[in-house]
């Protein structure tokens, strides 16, 4: 919100990578997100249940993946400075046990609105080389 934390619009260029992060998602991560969000769908913690509905096993909450992606943008944009964020959940993220699913999150300037002085930030989230979100776009006033 303050000038100190808001990115400078004039310094941005389309195609510029503004932030990236590699995140390990484990079963612990899923339990923590379930508690924090109130989303206790058993496909996110119970392999037997997940397999009974046709999944390979436990998968991450789509909203966890989206939330992790948002955090990468928000750390750059400044807390509370992501005005809009959307995503499609195009591919499930299986989370093995033990070990982790590794998410590679990259935020790139997709477009600049010179009139509104806002940036569209396109976010990719890849797991094992495949994109798991579609049209993940944030709007950041600068």
């Amino acid at each position: 919100m303050s000038d100190e934390t808001t990115p400078s619009f004039d310094a941005l260029e389309v195609g510029q990578v503004v932030a990236s992060r590699t995140v390990e998602v484990t079963r612990d991560t899923l339990v923590r997100y379930a508690g924090a969000s109130g989303d206790f769908n058993p496909i996110h913690y119970n392999d037997v249940f997940a397999q009974s509905v046709g999944l390979p096993g436990v998968i991450a909450h789509g909203m966890l993946t989206m939330g992790l992606a948002a955090s990468v943008v928000e750390e750059w944009a400044g807390a509370g400075n992501v005005a809009d964020f959307q995503a499609r959940f195009t591919r499930p993220v299986p989370v093995p046990n033990p070990r982790a699913a590794i998410l590679q999150i990259t935020a790139t300037v997709g477009a600049l609105d010179h009139e509104l002085r806002s940036a569209r930030i396109d976010v990719t989230v890849e797991c094992e080389g495949q994109k798991v979100l579609g049209k993940a776009q944030a709007v950041v006033p600068c």
């Binding site: 924090a36 969000s37 509370g80 964020f85 959940f89």
Partner: protein, 148 residues
């Protein structure tokens, strides 16, 4: 059970108020690896111009999903929750949520489209503050498999 396309336009709520707290914001920020100090420390948030700690971008899902629950459990809508996957989500923030906000939510079924054995149910949750001023709009689409 099949999704009833005539449920489009139904509105639910407003439901009981939701009070945004520092503890919940911190817990959610930890869960989504949000690292800005303004999610955790009131003095950092105040230095950035907020009245208290600020919620991460997707925190509003906590509030919206409570309201959406009324849609997916309405027998006249006909969603079989064991056949649901989340298709998409969008947050439009009219202002950031901060600790101390007391908000209410109204949710509307915006569209239902059916093809190839899948029903796409799109809801729009409008979160407003105590002065009835808009805070966040959360649009969510569930894909429901309609097995024979």
């Amino acid at each position: 059970m099949a999704v009833n396309p005539e449920a489009v336009g139904r509105t639910y709520g407003p439901f009981e108020t939701y009070e945004v707290t520092r503890v919940k914001i911190r817990e959610f920020a930890d869960a989504v690896d949000a690292r800005s100090g303004a999610h955790f420390y009131p003095e950092v948030a105040r230095a950035e111009g907020y009245t208290d700690v600020v919620a991460p971008t997707t925190f509003a899902v906590v509030i919206a999903q409570q309201a959406e629950f009324h849609v997916v459990t309405d027998p006249e809508v006909g969603v079989d929750f064991s056949k649901v996957v989340h298709a998409d989500e969008r947050f439009t923030h009219h202002r950031p949520l901060v600790a101390g906000d007391v908000v209410t939510t109204t949710v509307t079924i915006e569209s239902i489209t059916q093809r190839a054995g899948i029903s796409m149910v799109t809801t729009r949750a409008e979160i407003v503050d105590g002065d009835n001023a808009p805070v966040s709009t959360v649009v969510s689409t569930l894909a429901v498999r309609e097995d024979a």
